[in-house]
Symmetry: C2
Subunit: 127 residues, 2 copies
């Protein structure tokens, strides 16, 4: 139970994109070199971020990626869920109906965590 490396890469990549002024484009090569990973792998991560509507891609020469929204409108939860998926972090006992208190506690726990991550935006990460 821990977040994948891809989530870490995604957060740092988003932070890099947030640092440049006003949605400027950055190429995968440059972003990958910053974190010492292969550009091809980072490309797959960026694809997920694009499909989630967090970044925008410009194909062709001089292309690259840029933020789709302003840094203060992108929260951590959206980034994490874009990579990890929206799977619940605890699969309770589906069969034994609703009498299971454990499920209730874990579900409440999950909601609280999502609420916390929703309040943290990229703007908070740029000091």
């Amino acid at each position: 139970m821990n977040y994948s490396k891809a989530t870490n890469y995604a957060l740092h990549t988003m932070l890099e994109l947030a640092k440049v002024p006003d949605k400027a484009k950055k190429g995968v090569q440059e972003l990958a070199k910053y974190q010492d990973i292969s550009p091809t792998y980072l490309s797959k991560i960026l694809t997920k971020l694009t499909k989630s509507g967090l970044v925008e891609s410009s194909p062709g020469a001089l292309g690259g990626y840029s933020l789709a929204k302003k840094p203060d409108q992108i929260n951590f939860l959206a980034i994490i869920q874009a990579i990890e998926g929206q799977i619940p972090l605890f699969k309770g006992c589906e069969d034994k109906a609703n009498s299971c208190k454990i499920d209730a506690i874990m579900r409440e726990y999950e909601e609280q965590m999502e609420a916390y991550l929703s309040t943290k935006t990229l703007k908070d990460a740029i000091h």
Copy 2:
């Protein structure tokens, strides 16, 4: 990123042990049948719980497992960490020193989660 099935089994097993009055013993066979898993596998889970000091085992005939403490003294965090280990759920950038704001946010997030799970005990799960 989600909790393993073993954690789910562990929580339900602990809950079963908490339901019987005053630290009564229960065999692995009985506990396993309750969740439709093999007794051998559940035995491995109970071994981890024993090493963490959450349950006590009685070898020999008529042996079994029982809670080591009272239900209101066993919180969810202890059970989860006994199974999952105490690994941090987010490995930040160790090399790039302390300037990384992402690490700070995620560390704070982790602390808040542990604080929440510490307040929930087995007693809360028995209604």
